[in-house]
Subunit: 284 residues, 2 copies
């Protein structure tokens, strides 16, 4: 549809994210709500007429009020409908709390949210409505710590681990490396499931392919799945579902009611891979 | 991934498409290849470093060299793997020839390409490598005509009709209305299948919902399906599969080899609808 620039939005500054050096997404910034520098990254929240509040870390969109459900529902529910008994849960990263709120829909015992940057949590508490109630839930344990260090030191074992990292630059870089996944495996119960975001199948296929090689050495079961995320590069996102014992297709429970993207048909469908992904991921 | 603006791309003009009044996509225009005004619309082709050649009609991205396969494969192959014997084919719109090249992969008898704007065909012949060989194929019949008028006047019947319209503004407006689909139904063989693009599930859900109401009155079988299209609004696109007799799930043949997006797993998966679409499309 031909959308002309409204007179009212013309005056708003334009915020751009490059997806490659020659293209990207832009948003009119109706209101700047917050801009802070932590020791780890630059954190900004602004308001956009269409997407509502948008969280930006080091210039990259992390979450928006309007489309967060695509990403967070698909980050969490595939593991939770497939795991036989998800009781002890770990989220690494995800300080905005979008994944946490989805996890708390299930009758779990405890969920650790291990976020390296306390300022992401503080800012998200203030600007995103879901985080504060999720942290008040007695089952939630917030730890401000380096996810990698936490894994090395903890003697806890987890049923489901969700790696909600930002992209492999800045503080999230170690969360994309082989050593991290080895440590992670050591903290899993035998029936444990790990889900991690892997980036855009269009823009990041090389890095997905590289991870596939070491993930297949570490885990007996490696599945990739996809979901649309309108404000992420290319509009579609890749996740890995990793386990030694639990595959994604034997459904153990229904998802909670009231979800906006996920359902059990979508669950099965998300694991179908396009020809261009199959041809590189199934060779390795 | 943090992508900085390269010095080399800074000088290139920025081409923007608004998806709502406050957000959209941008491309650096490395080289302007063509800009023409037809009686129907403004036609532009430019070169972008990442997406290659991009065809723009009235300011909206129609196709790019790099990502056209998502859209064109998903526009064509679902109907062709499901129809019992697709011999006589009609494309309405689609003057860029992306759909035509996919159709010609099958052993069909004849395909009519009915495009209203001869200048779209001329420009696409020059700048997109697939159109000219497709038009030279003896099975292809190019007609420069109003698709709606063609349907009213022809006494031909078709097995598969592909409506590859642009959005419901400008010359494509009538291709989105009930009368058009009534005429279209009159030109179908009893086992005929129609596929039409319906827009973005995020941005155009209202118009998809309205069409659903009259499509369900016209066709016994109405299925919606989805595909990622990185350069279209929201990065994901909706199509309808319409028929009185032929559903999409009983596969009649394999797709051609060498496809980049489509395969039979993707075919089944594409028909799974997100919760927010099901809740509005299954009520009506």
């Amino acid at each position: 549809m031909s959308i002309k620039e409204k007179a009212s939005t013309k005056e708003f500054p334009e915020i751009k994210e490059y997806h490659a050096t020659s293209c990207g997404i832009f948003f009119k910034r109706k209101k700047l709500l917050c801009t802070k520098n932590s020791p780890y990254q630059k954190i900004e929240v602004f308001e956009n007429e269409y997407f509502g509040r948008i969280l930006i870390l080091d210039g990259l969109v992390q979450t928006t009020e309007r489309d967060e459900f695509f990403y967070h529902e698909m980050l969490v529910h595939p593991a939770f409908v497939a795991h036989p008994l998800p009781q002890n849960i770990l989220i690494i990263g995800g300080g905005d709390g979008g994944g946490l709120k989805e996890i708390l829909c299930y009758p779990i015992e405890q969920v650790y949210l291990v976020e390296i940057d306390p300022l992401v949590v503080e800012v998200s508490k203030k600007y995103f409505p879901w985080l504060l109630p999720s942290l008040k839930d007695k089952r939630s344990k917030l730890l401000i710590a380096d996810g990698r260090e936490f894994l090395k030191e903890t003697d806890r074992k987890f049923d489901v681990v969700i790696v909600d990292s930002s992209d492999p630059v800045g503080p999230s870089l170690p969360l994309h490396e082989k050593d991290f996944f080895e440590d992670l495996k050591n903290c899993l119960n035998p029936e444990g499931v790990v889900v991690t975001q892997l980036g855009s199948p269009l823009y990041h296929l090389d890095s997905i392919t590289k991870k596939n090689i070491f993930l297949k050495k570490l885990f007996k079961l490696v599945f990739f799945y996809l979901a649309p995320v309108p404000t992420y590069p290319g509009g579609s996102w890749c996740f890995a579902f990793l386990s030694d014992k639990v595959g994604p297709f034997a459904i153990k429970r229904n998802p909670p009611s009231g979800l906006k993207y996920f359902n059990l048909e979508i669950h099965q469908a998300a694991f179908a891979l396009p020809a261009f992904m199959r041809s590189v991921l199934c060779k390795t």
